[in-house]
């Protein structure tokens, strides 16, 4: 197995196809990261809401 390009510039450029290839990988990464982050934010909100409810139902002395 060998590295298919002569240099890093060559790798980024991909003989003219670089922008297409890298744009595809960038869009995919952003979309997948969104799928990971969105529920985390939701979860934070839900937990905060449950905490609020708990404070209302049994307030601290």
């Amino acid at each position: 197995m060998t590295f298919q390009f002569n240099s890093l510039i060559d790798f980024l450029n991909m003989a003219g196809h670089g922008p297409y290839v890298w744009a595809s990988y960038a869009i995919t990464t952003i979309a997948l990261v969104t799928l990971v982050v969105y529920p985390l934010m939701q979860k934070k909100q839900i937990i905060a809401q449950i905490r609020r409810q708990q404070r209302i139902s049994n307030p601290p002395e």
């Binding site: 197995m1 298919q4 196809h17 297409y20 997948l32 979860k43 937990i47």
Partner: protein, 246 residues
Amino acid sequence: MGWQWFHQLGSPRWFYEKTSRWMPWIGAIALILLVVGAVWGLAYAPVDAKQGNSYRIIYIHVPAAFLALAGYYIMAIAGAVGIIWQMKLSYTVMRSAAPIGATLTFIALVTGAVWGKPTWGTWWVWDARITSMLILFFLYLGVMALQGAYQNQNTANKAGAILALVGTINIPIIYKSVDWWFTLHQPATLKLTGESSIDPSMAYPLLIMIAGFYGLYAWLLMHWTRMDILHSEQKTAWVKALVSSK
């Protein structure tokens, strides 16, 4: 053997606690496969004789499309199980599968368009494969939209499940579209039976990426389902205990 596992599987709490233990492993394996597959595909797989380097988009395009289709089956089956056995968790899985599937279909469509530009000279064409994938995207969005369309959660779930089941007609059409109406989209690269049209040196990273996407999909489905469980079970004692113990 009893049916205990089946009832346990329907318990949101059981699901939540089990997946807490599974998810780190599944996530780690998926991440390793995706990184190895992407680096291999981008830097070490040989260049394509006809398409040049643009073909390297295959390493995300095909796995995303694979999971967009497999995810639709999962959503439809979860919906059917929900209707037949009135299983709450099953509807939760169905609801979670919709945004994940929509995103994967979106990735397949966008990377396909970007790949099409240098290869076919156009971003978009009303080819049978592309059009049926667009319909798949709208089916996913439809299941998501139905969740917000009803006051009653049970009605929304049933409506979503019925739409998901009716939409399965589209799946074999997508699979067969490249053979039935061969216009612009190339025929399948990997075949379960018969010779694949790809050289092993290019196929290995593709198979690794497909495995990685399967792992990522499993992880994401659990991730979204857990968030939904926390939301719908927030009045229960176990969720309250879970929150106050943190």
